[in-house]
Amino acid sequence: MERYYQPEIECASREQIRAWQDERLVKQVRHAYDHVPYYKKLMDDKGVKPEDIQSVDDLYKLPFTYKKDLRDTYPYGLFAVPMKDVVRLHASSGTTGKQIVVGYTREDLDIWDDIVARQLVAVGATEEDKVHISYGYGLFTGGLGLHGGATKLGATVIPVSSGNTQRQITILRDFGSTVLCCTPSYAAFIGETLHEMGLTGKDIPLKAGIFGAEAWSEEMRKDIEEKLGIKAYDIYGLTEIMGPGVAYECSAQQGMHVNEDHFIIEIIDPETGEVLPEGQQGEIVFSCITRQAFPLLRYRTRDIGVIHRGTCSCGRTFVKMSKPMGRSDDMLIIRGVNVFPSQIETVLLNHGYSANYQIIVDRVKSTDTLEVQVEMTPEMFTDNMGEIERRQRELVEGMRSLLGLAAKVKLVAPKSIVRSEGKAVRVIDKRKI
């Protein structure tokens, strides 16, 4: 029996959702135009007035906003309310450049808590559950985002934060955590450590996990589910838009429902900016239609994904987005071919290797080189040198057929690739361009 946190919203009719979006978008455009001089200028430069936006159909008329706009207005240039109404600040991790700052009013936080609570209920959590949060607490939205939602749901929050994996496992066992929230790479590492301690998923009461903040593959999902003995769910979000919970996975585990009462999703052609029809892959663009402190409109996420309408077995009516292929910032262009680390991960796991890998890109005599370092595992090791080399060649062949690119595979010693407690460092790009 499927449970919902806010069934009247999550299962509303499409007409109702559309009506909310029309009304809220019109108000939000007016709010941004009147209170953010930078927005007013962006719209004026494009020749768009707030009154030109009468419904979602007019959304395409609005200018896009980019990460660059957030950097150019750092720190408070896009805030739309006086600082006395801002009750929280968060900042992006800054892994891909200068950090950006976002603000929340009390109402904004309330909405954020709601959408995270929807995710928790969708994975089966109730107020009886103990939610173990191993996302980092601080300016990063992961820790406090899940914390707020779990608190609002009335579950027991265990605010462990990231790090000290042995201690994480002690708490999982002794406190009896039932829902784990962290990055997928950290979940895999916790699973690996658990096994090294001679334990299995049966030794911990954990039943579900909510993993996000980085791209991960279906194979990695299987691996985590097996190692921890749980169901692993995907959560999507980004600091600029709100944080985790912008979209959430349900029991169907086939794409994430976008919280359309607060955000409008579009898929566009990243080259032309044209809106693409349903089912076509492109860059994900979000507009916040309720957020007061930071009313970002048509924000180019640089995430590559696809949306699907139509009914979901869970009963929710929100549109679903695919697990993003990866952030276009993560996308590597090697010898003119687009490569996502998540594709490499898929090939590795399909061939029986572990998800402990690193990608090294370099340029030798004006030709790009791609090297994938992957750790040897007991399962893949044999005394037969020829067999190891045969498996290595198969892996290279697998990469070639999926990526359309020759990669060098280097087998390295176990534990030689540094483990991450937050977002994993998958790519080392040594090219000097």
Binding site: P378, F381, T382, D383, N384, M385, A413, P414, K415
Partner: protein, 144 residues
């Protein structure tokens, strides 16, 4: 009879082998024989030790990927034609040798030992025994 060889994955980098022997030394594991197969990037260290259980336990704890492989150990008289005679027996029995390596006997001075990795240890051992050539037993390793 076959004996147990421990095969360990190591990277082909400076100090990798030293790291491995350090772990063994620290735990008083005595090496009887050692051979190294390598590519430009990684290698397989193959070894015969006095205490297999202890060695595999400390290797696992130290994070080494390893496996156990059955091999045949043969004492070969230190005379011209000693190895040739053993190989002739294996050839006659149509036993294919994947790899082999030698080590000198500990207390014995009149013969060396050869470790053979073959496709079928039972056939090899039986063929050798039929021609009066004894193979090593696991229990005998510790006292070599």
């Amino acid at each position: 009879m076959s004996i147990k060889q421990i095969s360990v994955f190591v990277e082909n980098t400076p100090g990798a082998l030293y790291g491995l022997t350090g772990v063994l030394a620290q735990h008083q594991v005595d090496l009887r024989a050692l051979s190294l197969a390598e590519t430009s990037e990684f290698g397989i260290v193959r070894m015969i030790v006095d205490n297999v259980y202890q060695a595999t336990t400390v290797l696992k704890d130290a994070g080494y990927v390893h496996s156990l492989t059955p091999v045949v150990g043969v004492a070969i008289p230190d005379v011209p034609g000693g190895l040739n005679r053993v190989l002739q027996v294996l050839t006659d029995a149509k036993v294919n040798i994947e790899y082999m390596y030698a080590f000198l006997g500990g207390k014995s001075v009149d013969h060396a030992y050869m470790i053979f990795r073959v496709a079928d240890e039972a056939t090899a051992t039986a063929a050798l025994a039929a021609r009066g050539i004894q193979t090593l037993e696991q229990d005998a390793i510790a006292s070599l």
